[in-house]
Symmetry: D2
Subunit: 349 residues, 4 copies
């Protein structure tokens, strides 16, 4: 019989944290032993999240590393920028496995982090310890490690949509333009005017053009796939819906490849990876078709008039873009079936 892994969640009162809870409660090999919040320690988690009434009675713990190490084997960090950089090294030291959902360990150098996040980054030696857990691309590097940096929501959608084409040399990486759109939950539970209902509803806005902190994370992986430095144009838009990300990716073709060829290429690349679904010719995925699930659905349109391909990639930002992929990383790390605890059909309608 399998021993269950004991999990702690830091940042349990954010959307990523509460979604980790939803999935881990369903995980056959994991038991949640501590839900942690620096701001609400002591209160029952169901007070701030009444949907957990009668499901999770636990009160929130404070951030106390020795205590966490005593209660848990693995810790998920669903914390704001800058927090994981401080916590993760000590947690690793205390013998915990760490899966960080923030951006603190995604970039390869502190300088790059500072440039895009406008704050001091984790030291180089700590960055070097983290494995970037884009499961369907770097999954084999994750197995057996202790420290995973979970990819961002935009990078996950974008990279799953672009890596196979870049790797195959079918598109010119210098021509990549990504027009990304996200639901409002991407901004978290912290209050802001942009997420105020009467402002966000019946509204569509663009933000952080060319300045989004996910840009270097994407370029890092694209450069790796291309074997040379890649710079791209990346735009983010706020869409009046709670969940969902769509990355509409444009690039100039290198060579003659039609839509069906792209479909075949991607199906081959993602063979055996349950959570990536490639649509057949003439069909494009919509965000609602992955809602609440860990799927990433991808569709293609090659245009002969312009010799460009458009790749549409959709995920649920809170699941495949955060909590779901984090659990998928745990599964890979532990050598389990990567779908354990994640076999949820998208909720429709």
């Amino acid at each position: 019989m399998t021993t269950q892994v004991r999990a702690a969640i830091v940042g349990s009162t954010g959307y990523g944290g509460v979604e980790l809870i939803r999935f881990l409660l369903n995980h056959p090999q994991v038991i949640i032993t501590s839900v942690i919040s620096s701001s609400s320690a002591g209160a029952p988690i169901s007070e701030g999240f009444p949907h957990l009434n009668a499901i999770m009675q636990e009160s929130l713990d404070a951030v106390d590393i020795p205590l966490i190490a005593a209660k848990a084997d693995v810790v998920f960090l669903a914390t704001p920028a800058g927090v994981a950089a401080k916590l993760a090294p000590d947690m690793l030291e205390a013998g915990l496995k760490v899966i960080d959902l923030s951006g603190d360990f995604r970039l390869k150098t502190p300088e790059l982090y500072t440039q895009w996040y406008k704050r001091e980054g984790a030291p180089q030696e700590d960055l070097d310890k983290a494995v970037f857990g884009l499961c369907e691309v770097y999954g084999d590097q994750v197995q057996g490690v202790d420290f995973i940096s979970n990819p961002g929501c935009y990078p996950t959608a974008t990279l799953l949509g672009l890596v196979p084409a870049v790797k195959a040399g079918w598109i010119d990486p210098s021509t990549i333009i990504v027009d990304a759109k996200s639901g409002v939950s991407g901004g978290g539970r912290g209050l802001s005017l942009g997420a105020h209902y009467a402002e966000a509803n019946e509204n569509l806005s663009a933000y952080k053009l060319n300045r989004h902190q996910h840009i270097p994370e994407i370029e890092q992986v694209l450069s790796d796939a291309a074997g040379k430095p890649v710079t791209m144009t990346f735009s983010t838009h706020l869409v009046p819906m709670t969940r969902g990300i769509m990355a509409t990716c444009y690039a100039q073709l290198s060579g003659a490849h039609d839509t069906q060829a792209f479909i075949d290429l991607y199906r081959q690349y993602y063979e055996g990876r349950k959570f990536v679904r490639i649509r057949e010719q003439g069909k494009l995925p919509a965000t609602k078709e992955v809602w609440g699930s860990n799927y990433c659905d991808i569709g293609f349109a090659v245009d002969e008039r312009t010799n460009r391909v458009t790749v549409i990639s959709v995920i649920d930002n809170v699941v495949k873009g955060a909590a779901g992929q984090a659990i998928q990383n745990l599964n890979l790390m532990m050598g389990w079936d990567e779908t354990a605890g994640l076999n949820f059909t998208p909720v429709y309608p």
Copy 2:
């Protein structure tokens, strides 16, 4: 080891049908052996519902009772008004267990059905065979039967909110007024101007005041609970959201009972029933707190100024108001744990 029950779903291309699929795929004792649609037979179900790509490859079967009887042990009817009345008797005859999600077998006489549904009803002898499966009220009558009529969405929310108080004699049944509100999915997948996005979005409307076909279904159960005929006022409103029903129920108090007394009464009545959650004093449930799940959450406010109680009862109309409760009925019918296949945490946010 348990043998799995084989299930067929008629009406698989409606919202109730597709939600039955989502939950049954997760049910440890059930296997779906046929998904059936009279209108789309032959097509893969994922063609009309792309979220099922790579999850359910099956093509839709036609409605063929002998074939269904050969492939399945139990059949769910998620069909428009009038269809189940024709299919159910022959299906029972063919040895199938039947769970009907439509209104065809909910009312006790054909005359009552004709009066409210404005069409001919099933004959009395067929009506007499069906057990009304409001699980937390009539659950003990469901065990072991072959034919269940699954309650409507509005009746489920309303009755779970009112039955304990009526049964206890704490409210005057002649003063009951129910102001019910539903998300747009309650109208199904059939196109209509009222469900056209640009008309329903940023809009709130009332409809079928005093004429909704769920009224006699509610009054039937309230009369049963009161031990005398109950007539009530019932209003329905369309709210710009996909899922969710709230029944705001008003009644004059019989005797002095404060909010906490109501809470205690209901907690006692629903003791051991996992899917009804009674909120503590000062807390009222919101529809999002049960979204995607089989829960019914209930809260109370007694007003001393007016000597009235207000009961707020919320469900997800497609789950506890349709597919979820149907599966809960299957569980009770088979003598299984009533939560089998239904242990989903509400999706939040």
Copy 3:
């Protein structure tokens, strides 16, 4: 030729203030001479409200009563609770006409205010000076006065839906139950978790049952109409839309009056009042049908089974429930056509 009245708006950075600007810019006899905000003084108003770019270039003024009195003839107070109580007396003293959109002067005694608003109210002598400007009921009392207290959003919808029936003695006032629903803008521009997009979207919640501060305002007018004290049940719900209020009002009939009789009664009561539209038999108004306009639409359903009437009354909460009615009050106060500046067709879809 008419001289234009000069208007100042205090609280120009709230939704009520900015809607006053939209309508007054269109008013033939009014010119806005000062937009005022205590929190953002000095900044251009279009900085916080970019939709006003190239339309209104003015910077926000601070609250300075002598300056306002020098620049304006009339001042609108669209301020949070407690502010108008302090400002209005001095403004009146300084010779300004004052129209207060807050609740500070709506209740007839300081004690009642303290009981419901949980704060100290304006002194009795100041309360006595204000005229309650529910235009279609008290319009004749408004003409020529200097100080108007503009009704609340819920009271406007509720009272226009109930006053004629109460006045005519057609319903029993002791049986009135009002189930009110509002769009999220009713909570203003101040940030709160309840108005956070990911929480409010796809959600329906009830709040402040029996405790809403608009209750005494409604009861005050109903008591006046009934000629005796009226106590009622009043519930408020938050609906996932930006604008719109619906009051669904229930009451026991006094005497035999069918739906058409109610329609006739109300058409007679509101004869000549353009902004109240009574729907014909079988039609019920929806909030979208008054969206962005100053209309209040009312429909009826009498139920012979229960001997009750249901009255549906809808308004745009920011217009007829705030800025629009305030301007209508200005028009009545000045002896102008009550529709001046308000002749906007609802925006549909």
Copy 4:
């Protein structure tokens, strides 16, 4: 004193038609003398659009050209594809001025129309008579003509965002990629699964990639501006909101031009044109900031890393993208102030 122009509206039961009514009712020099619908002739227009109750009592007329010519001076055609091609020539013959809001007369040859619209187009001689009324670009060609083809919604947003840069030679036209997003009302009032509330809500989808019928309309004007044939990539997305279009336009820079230079260039190009508003550096427009109005707001972000410019252009698809621009064209045609009847502040929130 000015004589009023008499206007007829064919297609008064669509969203474009009803929005023409809203604006023309407010136009000082126009009187609506006939509202026409082939499908609902005889019924009062307020039956299908209750928001017009007490505002417009007229019944709908049938399509009868001699009658229209007798009652009106100008006719607006807000009709489905293919209808205007049949009606317009006879209407012109009958002495009417015609403003066509459909795509029937926007393309320069019948062949191009057939290629993109997949149906037979109007004959060349009729196409030659129509002037393409993109007001801020071709406004001077509109004055005094009898027949205007009103631009499409996507082309209006896109072209106002790109023409000045293309004309100035600041961007390489062969690199243009437009990622366009629209609210659901763009699909009209006709029912479809894609516009069914439960499918469109909380969903974001892409459609008609590289195949949208607005592509040749855009390329035609861009080619005109560039002085050489332009082919571009154009994608359309459906956003869960009722109104609003955003065109996010990408292009490679020709020469060194920073964001401020673009702002200056566009401000100069659109000088004196009230309905185009150029945002200052660091500010990007959102669709809500033009909601319900005839404005087109434009913002820029030049990226030195990639040497590309991103242009964000937003309109209300039903106003500047349809009815509003049609009236603006009438104003230009008649030699009136182009803002007559259109001086509406955007509705916010």
